[in-house]
């Protein structure tokens, strides 16, 4: 008992002194399970997030856009890989996490349950969704768990390129033809509110927030981060001449921030509970790829085992003897 108290004391001292917690350090079970939940959700979001933009790779309007989009979607898969690896240091396995994604028990960012009907959606995702992700992830670079913080630093560097390419697509459309401008405005109208929902419920209603803040897994509250995103994005929208679809959006001199309208939390809940436009198709796409790849993974593992056993060397020798 005394020993346990000592461990807790040491853990809390590290947190208080901004020392990173590393995989070999002792940590409370709940700290471990919170991190596994959060990091694996984040990883799942990256790989499900490949799908909405992936929808436009084969139809990108120029070769430069095609190459950039392909590289970007590939980066997202790479981010998934770092994050699964970071989570694995907490004593879970990729298979377990992947199974939880496929059977629907794990969550991923709800934003990816919205469809990408036009090319402007690719711009909007880069600009808004990646923009919101960066605000959140910059904050997470200071998270208390070492492997997660380091994965975030690397991811943030790449995400800022993604955000820029998205903004550039929107900017090009906004100053293009009437049809292109409409396409851009329509995408902004559809993505704005779901993007604000990415930061999660109001602080007062956030289930996991308080404990996570105490353990410094989370460094800033949902509402703080959301406000930061809005403040920086309003000016960007103005700059390219698009209108944010919120009549209540207004600079508040006293607060030094923009005031904004109320988020439709009913929609947030519906999508979270599985009733968004693409919840079913995103999960099915992942399941289908997994099922279709089963024989490939099996062949790979059988081959690798044979190779380790030296089967192929025997075959080579036999071939020479013949």
């Amino acid at each position: 008992m005394v020993k346990n108290m000592e461990k807790i004391g040491q853990f809390e001292r590290k947190i208080a002194e901004e020392e990173k917690i590393e995989p070999k350090d002792w940590m409370p079970d709940k700290y471990r399970s919170s991190l596994i939940r959060q990091i694996s959700q984040h990883a799942h979001s990256e790989v499900v997030g490949q799908l909405p933009e992936g929808n436009w790779i084969t139809r990108a309007p120029t070769l430069r856009r095609k190459a950039t989009l392909l590289a970007k979607v590939q980066d997202e898969a790479g981010h998934g890989l770092y994050l699964y690896s970071a989570a694995e240091t907490l004593n879970t396995s990729r298979e377990e996490m992947w199974d939880a994604l496929l059977d629907g028990s794990a969550k991923y960012a709800s934003i990816f349950n919205y469809p990408t009907p036009t090319w402007a959606d690719v711009g909007a995702i880069g600009w808004l969704v990646d923009g919101a992700a960066i605000v959140n992830q910059i904050s997470l670079c200071r998270t208390s768990f070492g492997p997660y913080a380091r994965a975030m630093e690397r991811i943030c560097r790449e995400e800022s390129f993604h955000q820029r390419q998205g903004f550039e697509i929107m900017q090009t459309l906004a100053k293009g033809s009437e049809e292109q401008r409409e396409m851009a405005q329509d995408a902004l109208n559809r993505w704005w509110w779901p993007t604000l929902m990415m930061f999660g419920p109001h602080d007062a209603h956030s289930m996991h927030s308080q404990q996570s803040m105490k353990w410094k897994i989370k460094r800033q509250s949902n509402d703080e981060l959301r406000q930061q995103f809005i403040d920086q994005t309003v000016e960007q929208a103005d700059h390219i001449g698009l209108t944010i679809p919120d009549e209540k959006l207004k600079w508040n001199e006293e607060r030094g921030h923009y005031d904004f309208g109320e988020i439709d939390w009913g929609e947030f809940e519906r999508v979270l509970m599985g009733h968004g436009p693409c919840n079913q198709s995103r999960l099915q796409a992942r399941q289908k790829a997994h099922e279709k790849g089963a024989w490939v993974r099996e062949a790979l593992s059988v081959y690798t085992a044979k190779e380790k056993r030296g089967d192929f060397k025997i075959m080579e020798r036999e071939a020479v003897n013949e």
């Binding site: 992936g54 120029t62 070769l63 998934g80 049809e179 796409a285």
Partner: protein
């Protein structure tokens, strides 16, 4: 159209059309590392098409063309890629085997082009870069042919089927026309029989080692170099070119 331009565009078309097919795997690969690797190879192919088209634009007698003109504003009959590049992806065995057969063809063709002695021209340099990339692709696809050929009964069976479907399309590699012959004459393209010999040697050895027998079918594809395509090509282009066709002459 002069032969050098025609030859360059054909190489660009092969790269773009196969790159387009490979990119369809992005987000749908059999596992995460392989998803990333396939997307990365697709990116190499698209990048290669851009280099070749940009070079083509610089020697095209019609001025003002660029990479996007060749990719998005030409019709099916103007694309002169080999038909093997446009076939739908099929299963992973089909995809991997096609890469293997085609990667090896690329190594041989681009190696000859990289040795093309044309002072102050950038094409040999481009080709040298592509040879390096293709050699890497070939090492990767060869390893996969071994894994799938020698993995399980199912993977071997799938490889057999893929080989039967693909083999006739590889005959097009050696279906030389006047343009190829003209490139051979200036030392920028392997002689047909030499290409056939070198390609068959390595391919047949790798396939033999993984217990894959060459198909007996005598059917041979032809016509890609003359703009004749399979029924799949029209759909591929309809998808790829949709925005440029729907909204002509805009910036994106």
């Amino acid at each position: 159209m002069n032969h050098l331009l025609k030859y360059t565009l054909r190489l660009g078309d092969n790269a773009l059309i196969l790159g387009q097919r490979m990119s369809e795997w992005c987000g749908h690969g059999p596992f995460l590392e392989e998803d990333i690797a396939m997307a990365n190879s697709a990116l190499d192919y698209v990048g290669r098409a851009r280099l070749l088209y940009t070079y083509a634009a610089s020697i095209d007698s019609v001025k003002g063309r660029d990479e996007d003109f060749y990719a998005f504003r030409r019709d099916e009959a103007e694309f002169e890629n080999l038909q093997i590049c446009e076939l739908p992806n099929g299963d992973y065995a089909f995809t991997i085997l096609r890469q293997f057969l085609f990667d090896h063809y690329c190594v041989l063709v681009y190696r000859a082009l990289s040795r093309f002695d044309k002072p102050s021209d950038q094409l040999p340099g481009l080709a040298a870069k592509i040879v390096k990339e293709s050699s890497f692709h070939l090492a990767r696809s060869t390893k996969w042919v071994q894994r799938l050929g020698l993995g399980t009964i199912e993977s071997n069976l799938r490889m057999k089927r893929a080989l039967e479907e693909l083999w006739g399309y590889t005959r097009e590699f050696f279906d030389y026309d006047e343009t190829d012959r003209s490139m051979v004459s200036i030392g920028a393209c392997p002689e047909k029989e030499k290409l056939r010999f070198d390609w068959s040697n390595l391919v047949e050895k790798v396939l033999f080692d993984v217990s894959l027998k060459l198909p007996e079918s005598k059917w041979e594809a032809n016509g890609g170099r003359q703009g004749v395509h399979t029924e799949h090509m029209g759909k591929l282009l309809a998808e790829m070119q949709v925005l440029q066709r729907r909204y002509p002459s805009l910036s994106w």
